[in-house]
Amino acid sequence: MRVLPNLRSGGWFKVLLSSRHITFSSLLLAASLPFVPTHLGAQVDGEVVYNQWCAGCHGEDGAGTGPAANTMLPRPRDFTLALYQVRTTATGGLPTDADMLKVINEGMPGTAMPGWEDVLTEGDRLALVDYLKTFSRFFQDDPPTPLDFGRATPETDEAIARGAEVYQTVECWRCHGQQGRGDGESAPTLNDAAGFPIVAADLTENWRFNGGGEVEEIYRVLRTGLDGTPMPTFSDIVDAGVITNEDLWSLAHYVRRLSPEDEPEVREVVTAKLLTDTPLPQTVEDIVWEEAEAFYVPLAGQIIIKPRWFNPRVDGVWVQAAHDGRELALLVSWGDPSESPDTLWADFGERVLTTMAPGDEGSASGSGAADQLVVQFPQELYEGQERPYFLQGDARRPAYTWTWQSDVTGAFESIARGMGTAARQADAEQHVRATAQHADGQWKVLFVRPLDTGSEEDLAMTVGQAVPMAFQAWDGDNGESGNQGAVSTWYFLFLEQPTPIAVYVQPPVALALTLLFGLLVVRQARLGSGMVRELDASARRKRIARTRQLAGMGVGVIWLGMAFGSYQNSRAGWEAGHADLGFWWAIIGGLLAIAGLGALVGTWIHTRTSK
């Protein structure tokens, strides 16, 4: 958890800068000082900073209706209401300066609000805090008092288990769903304070939590609620003795555990695991998927080709892949609270469309579309590794796509020369099979296709080769269809290859050669040391000998360092799916390590004999 900078750390002049702290006596003090720090002379004008950086979304009047606001959901904060989600104060309380600074610094993940810590100076950001407070008369009241959160309880298995019980007791599932994916029965009817549709947070993506995803931050939200949203405070039930404060910490631990330990790392290459003694999975529940590595691919709204979409529901998909040398199995999983079209969500989709109203020609006019997933590949591997345009290709480099839709069984292959131009291939040329499952707010779609379909229209996949791959996803119940959905950029799919025999033969050979090389070094050192012994009457010769000792040791250490570097390269290669790269770096690393050790041993022998 990031530690907040101390507001007072900047010294007394900052205290003066804050209008709340300007008192008559401090003004007198400032006026009577013989010199004033230049900071105070160039006092930051929060209004200027605000109008330059914030007004585009939040509006010059602070009402959250700036020129860009219409393309955002959730809408930018309306500062005139003094309704703040991220606080250390009770529900209905005002945020402290530190609370406001935290949001300015870190932004609001999962919304359009970026962090400003690296963009604006600390003085600018502090001035903004003060300026934001001028939008509401509520800040003229007494300064807010933060709640006492106490200390986090230890994260034990018992705490997690207790947290799971509390999740049921306080009925978090009402909105967040049993598995936390925001698919609870009340989720489709949620509105924020301004009446805009709002989603229940997907608790399996803690990197997108408003106010932070660590245990302390989750606990804070449970205590304070997120004012202006449907998320209530749970402080009252602790006060009423329904649950204990420790229970609330346990709940925070449990919720934290619903997400991965670390925010998923985005990797360029998805490796398809080679299955040699297990059959290729034909269902989404196959045990192979429990073992296979999952790769996270982030998605963003399609905002390039009109009609655009600024409110994608699917913010990322998890991809797992396996092959058996003949067929590829690709499992794509993503959070989506409903199986569109779902009548319970129809109204939500309508409200989203009304709210977003991008005004582009051809915008979706009604919800009720199906969920959809498109996996893109180039139609063939183009020269110079050039990839098609990432939005379903272009005229020169068409994309070859697999399309799955929630209201149709299976999937189909198409050739596309741009967004919305996908032409389904003839029935005789359909080779991809798909099965799908929707459970607990998550879609899992499994595609299976022969590596080589025998058709010139389809991309042929070769073992040991990386092919470009990209994803697009639509949530029909979120008002998405046509061009209005979520898209990814290009990634690679690498089909793991069987290890060649040479890999097993070469290492011993290389080792033997290196050993021989090492012995030669040692022999050289011995010869050298013999010469030195004959001439050791001279002190100068001794000095030369010492220099040679140091040089020998130095070379050895450098070689060992290079060996370590090779090891790092090797690991990176394996992880990226480049098995060959990883292997050869390992060999080079081994050679260097032996050479380095040889040099050190040789020098040691040299040193011993020279005495």
Partner: protein, 287 residues
């Protein structure tokens, strides 16, 4: 069942107290329990009962009554079982003889020179059968509102005033929570995000002269000091109407508010500050 009857009886009592006894002096704000009326009389009332007069009248509706959508409570068996007939939305509740219920009637202007003590008793907002009881209620500034969960399942109480600070509290089990508002505000919307159909309105005023009409549409404000007043009637669908009355000692001034079909969909003022000092505080219905 008995408990439920008890709640209904309390609600009925509350309503009847408003209607029959009005909200004069110590009875202001009423109470959740029948004993509340007797206890709550504050000693330092600024009004001389001997010289006081009353206001009484009717709130009616003319035209075709809007259809109220049925609420599907199938997902909440506990709540559905508490309703003998299919529950409907409550943004319009009419009664016999054109009476209009759930209209918040209060003195908007004329009491500027007086300050009133805060009643010690609390007003109860009950969640029963996944419905707020009452649907519209009044409370004095600073007076406690006891929010009660009688359903034993998750409710959240999300109040979104603009002149007061908001709150959003969870009640996953049968329990009570107290909250109050520090500034006069007509009206404060309250909703439950878990059950999207649940809504309630709280009128916050800084004196005890307010009431909520029952199905018969009758309203009364008793024990007002003699003088000229502006009385406002607020309805969640039809907006507000005002009426000027003169109260004389020992007499009852007549008021009458007739809301019409044409006023439906009015931009209903809520969260507006009640500017008692403003001479032209009258607010009209848009559209």
């Amino acid at each position: 069942m008995i408990e439920r009857f008890g709640e209904l009886r309390n609600t009925a009592l509350l309503v009847s107290m408003f209607v029959i006894a009005g909200c004069g002096g110590g009875d202001g704000g009423g109470g959740g329990a029948s004993a509340g009326a007797a206890d709550a009389a504050p000693a330092e009332s600024p009004v001389d009962a001997a010289t006081a007069g009353n206001v009484a009248g009717m709130v009616t509706f003319s035209g075709t009554a809007p259809m109220m959508a049925e609420i599907n409570m199938n997902s909440e068996a506990v709540c559905a079982a508490k309703h003998s007939t299919t529950p409907t939305e409550e943004s319009f509740v009419g009664g016999e003889n054109g009476g209009l219920a759930n209209v918040f009637v209060y003195v908007k202007q004329g009491l500027e020179s007086l300050t009133f003590p805060t009643p010690a008793s609390a007003v109860v907002l009950n969640q029963d059968g996944c419905t707020y009881r009452p649907h519209v209620l009044g409370v004095q500034v600073g007076q406690d509102i006891t929010i009660r969960n009688s359903d034993g399942l998750m409710h959240n109480i999300n109040a979104s005033p603009t002149e007061n600070r908001p709150f959003n509290v969870s009640q996953p089990v049968n329990m009570e929570t107290n909250r109050s508002f520090s500034t006069a505000e007509v009206m404060v919307p309250v909703r439950c995000d878990v059950h999207g159909w649940m809504s309630s309105w709280i009128g916050v005023v800084d004196h005890p002269y307010f009431t909520v009409s029952g199905p018969d549409g009758s309203v009364a404000l008793d024990g007002l000091p003699p003088g000229d007043y502006v009385i406002e009637a607020w309805h969640e669908q039809f907006g507000t109407m005002t009426s000027n009355v003169t109260v004389a000692t020992g007499e009852t001034a007549e008021i009458s508010f007739e809301f019409t079909e044409a006023m439906a969909g009015a931009s209903v003022p809520m969260g507006e500050p009640i500017d008692l000092l403003h001479p032209d505080g009258h607010r009209t219905v848009d559209h």
